[in-house]
């Protein structure tokens, strides 16, 4: 075990820090520090492209697809510097962290050539079409259907149905959609993983306003939406395995960037507490210390998780990481409000939220998306501890 970095790695750190600094104090100073998912979206797409041009967008990827083949240590360094520079939240993350790795792992060569470079260059944004009104935690219950038909340009999938809670669909060029391609199939069988262009008449996107007042997510209606027959990842009918593969990438290195963002949030809370005197309250001191401990434990867990050799077996921290960070972050939001006092309850005239108030509200979602806390506990109990499975209705 070793925590320190080599000289070459430190040089890499300086290189990325310098670059970020130049951009974020220069041409991109307007997007620095943005934490809202939707704010200044068009500028943040330009930022994605700037990252892409400089080769910083998908650094872990193979070079031929626009990456740098960065190893774990370099990815840690990148994540640290990205957060330290207060670079904005990544609008391209669903392409870079989910769609890209899925195509890399399960896609055909032609799909890799077609999709990966445009993701790493920040030219195409992605969204995730999993959840439906009747398929939330029980994802295998999806009911959106697709069938192969002859179209004007050859065979194509024709899609009917509805997705919901689709984050950032309003900015996306593509959506990865799980849908039923075998008529009459049920559960995990008969599903396929399709890549669907968003800009077409068969797709209707309707924003949903969430409790923060903002609309990060949407309903997406598919009414004879189409995509080329080739735009299927994996075999027809075997989409469940691919979909689960995508979910496993949520445990990837992006967690490190997220942690660095958490560290910034905790630092903000500490300076607020020092400024308003809450820092002398013994209970607040203990809670801040506890939050710091959680953050360190998370960091160490992420490093344990990512250093593990990939033999397909999930181990301790891989099972427990999601529920730990989500619950921790929700508590951090509560701590922020307690430190701010009533001032934290103030909003702008258009319900604009301060970063810390948004943290408090938005973190309620952390324990819902990407597997609710209850679903995580089921998973841990059944898959890690070998306890009996929940009965199905």
């Amino acid at each position: 075990m070793k925590l320190s970095f080599t000289k070459a790695q430190e040089a890499f750190r300086t290189e990325i820090a310098d670059w970020l600094d130049r951009q974020l104090t220069g041409p991109y100073s307007d997007v620095r520090g943005i934490t809202s998912q939707t704010e200044a979206a068009q500028r943040r797409i330009q930022w994605e492209q700037e990252l892409g041009r400089a080769g910083w967008s998908a650094i872990g990827w193979p070079e031929e697809f626009g990456g740098r083949e960065a190893d774990l240590a370099e990815q840690v360094i990148f994540a640290e510097e990205y957060a330290r520079a207060k670079a904005p939240g990544r609008l391209g993350h669903m392409g870079v962290e989910l769609a890209g790795p899925t195509i890399l792992a399960f896609g055909s060569d032609a799909q890799k050539q077609r999709f990966l470079p445009s993701i790493s260059r920040g030219e195409e944004m992605w969204c995730q079409g999993y959840s439906e009104p009747n398929a939330g935690s029980d994802l295998a219950n999806v009911n959106t259907k697709a069938r192969l038909e002859q179209g004007p340009m050859g065979k194509q999938w024709v899609i009917e149905g509805q997705k919901i809670w689709t984050s950032l669909a309003q900015f996306a060029d593509w959506c990865f959609v799980i849908c039923r391609t075998e008529q009459g199939s049920q559960g995990r069988h008969g599903l396929s993983y399709l890549l669907v262009p968003m800009d077409q008449p068969g797709i209707d996107i309707r924003p949903i306003r969430q409790m923060t007042g903002e609309s990060d997510f949407n309903e997406v209606f598919f009414d004879k939406a189409v995509t080329a027959a080739d735009n299927i990842v994996g075999q027809a009918g075997a989409g469940w395995q691919v979909a689960m593969g995508t979910l496993s990438f949520e445990r990837g290195v992006s967690t490190l960037a997220q942690q660095m963002h958490f560290r910034n949030e905790l630092a903000t809370i500490i300076s607020m507490a020092n400024a308003n005197g809450q820092s002398s309250d013994p209970i607040i001191r203990q809670r801040i210390a506890k939050a710091w401990r959680g953050l360190q434990a998370m960091r160490a867990s992420a490093l344990r998780m990512l250093s593990q050799t990939d033999d397909g077996m999930l181990t301790g921290p891989q099972f427990t990481y999601k529920i730990f960070w989500a619950s921790w972050h929700r508590q951090l939001g509560e701590l922020a409000m307690d430190v701010m006092g009533q001032e934290g309850e103030l909003t702008g005239g258009d319900y604009e939220l301060s970063d810390m108030t948004r943290l408090f509200l938005f973190s309620r979602a952390d324990t819902i998306y990407a597997g609710t806390n209850q679903i995580q506990r089921n998973l841990i109990a059944e898959r890690a501890l070998g306890l009996p499975k929940e009965p199905r209705g």
Binding site: S4, L72, R285, K290, L306, S307, I323, R377, A381
Partner: protein, 360 residues
């Protein structure tokens, strides 16, 4: 940066796990805790001498193995699974760390080889107004290292086999709720008599003691992770076997979720412990907060797991015969050993720069 164990580390872990399997059954643990010294000299001999664990942190040229806290943490994690009482915390971690930090070659050459070989046991204690209470192994240690609480931070080393010291200090056993950690009271009867035992004072003595205790926190934390894991493993087995309402109680979601939460706490604590053990060598300035991190995280995990172990076992879990109470009591002594959890969190709060006096 790399976060995996070396082959040597994995080997040490396996070796200690084999040892514990042979020497730390529930019956052996209970026999040891009922004894006057509070530990079994035979198994201690195997651990310290045959396996060389007492000298793990002691440099080679002083008769030890010259390894670090990561290896020691792995040892404690294994031992913690079984609750076997042993003098290892004091004799293998706190005592040697203190001596190594004193920078007094003669002292080190005199004492460390004897500690490393397991020939002698040691207990380190802080005196408050001439009394040290609840000192782990204090009643049975061959050597006492005592630190005064006056402004000079005097440090004394007393060989208890030397009858001469009997008029100067008195040592008595204290019976504790956690019987796996036998402890004693040390009283100074004659302050003048202490002078001949003085070996150091001032900030060097103070720093050496602090460092030794911080190493101790990390070892105790590793041990607590092992104990918590045992609580989880034993409880998972039980809920798979025990049936009520025509099904295994482990099929009830309320039970499953409780066990899942236990695992979440354990994994976070394990990560924290490895991380802090690792940081000792590489980021020594952060030792105070890293030691707090490990100890509090692990102590909280063990408290949760031991309490739930009792709950999920029902009536059986409340009996003397079942081991659940041993873990529950161990959790309590872990939460107060060397410092309370809230005092350790306060160390973190200070390191984080939280002003303690009003608006800054």
């Amino acid at each position: 940066m790399q976060f995996e164990f070396t082959e040597e580390q994995t080997m040490i872990r396996q070796m200690v796990s084999d040892f514990a399997r042979d020497h730390a059954s529930s019956q052996q643990v209970r026999q040891a805790m009922a004894s006057e010294s509070g530990f079994d000299p035979d198994s201690w001999q195997v651990l310290s001498q045959n396996l060389g664990i007492a000298g793990l942190l002691v440099p080679d040229d002083l008769g030890g193995q010259g390894l670090g806290l990561i290896e020691m943490a792995l040892v404690f994690e294994q031992l913690g699974q079984y609750l076997l009482p042993s003098p290892l915390l004091q004799t293998g971690v706190i005592g040697p760390t203190l001596l190594l930090n004193l920078q007094d070659k003669a002292l080190q050459q005199h004492w460390l080889p004897q500690l490393a070989s397991g020939q002698l046991t040691v207990s380190v204690a802080r005196l408050v107004d001439g009394i040290a209470d609840y000192v782990i192994g204090g009643h049975s240690a061959d050597v006492l290292i005592l630190c005064s609480d006056d402004i000079n931070n005097e440090l004394y080393i007393i060989d208890t086999a030397d009858r001469k010291c009997q008029g100067t200090i008195r040592v008595t056993r204290q019976d504790m709720m956690d019987q796996t950690r036998a402890a004693g009271r040390i009283e100074v009867l004659n302050q003048k008599g202490m002078d001949e035992y003085r070996v150091a004072d001032g900030t060097s003595a103070k720093n050496a003691l602090q460092r030794a205790e911080q190493f101790g926190h990390i070892a105790v934390a590793a041990e607590a992770v092992g104990s918590a894991q045992s609580c989880l493993d034993k409880t998972v087995q039980y809920v798979k076997d025990r049936r009520q309402f025509g099904r295994a109680i482990g099929s009830f979601q309320a039970v499953k979720h409780q066990l899942a939460d236990m695992m979440v706490h354990i994994e976070a604590a394990r990560s924290a412990v490895y991380f802090s053990a690792c940081s000792v060598a590489e980021q020594p300035l952060q030792l105070p907060e890293m030691a707090s991190l490990a100890r509090v995280q692990a102590s909280e995990a063990l408290s949760l797991c031991a309490a739930e172990m009792i709950q999920l076992h029902g009536g059986i879990g409340f009996t003397w015969e079942h081991d659940a109470h041993l873990y529950f009591k161990r959790a309590r002594s872990t939460a107060t050993l060397l410092a309370t959890n809230s005092a350790l969190d306060e160390v973190i709060a200070e390191q984080l720069g939280l002003c303690s006096e009003g608006v800054s």
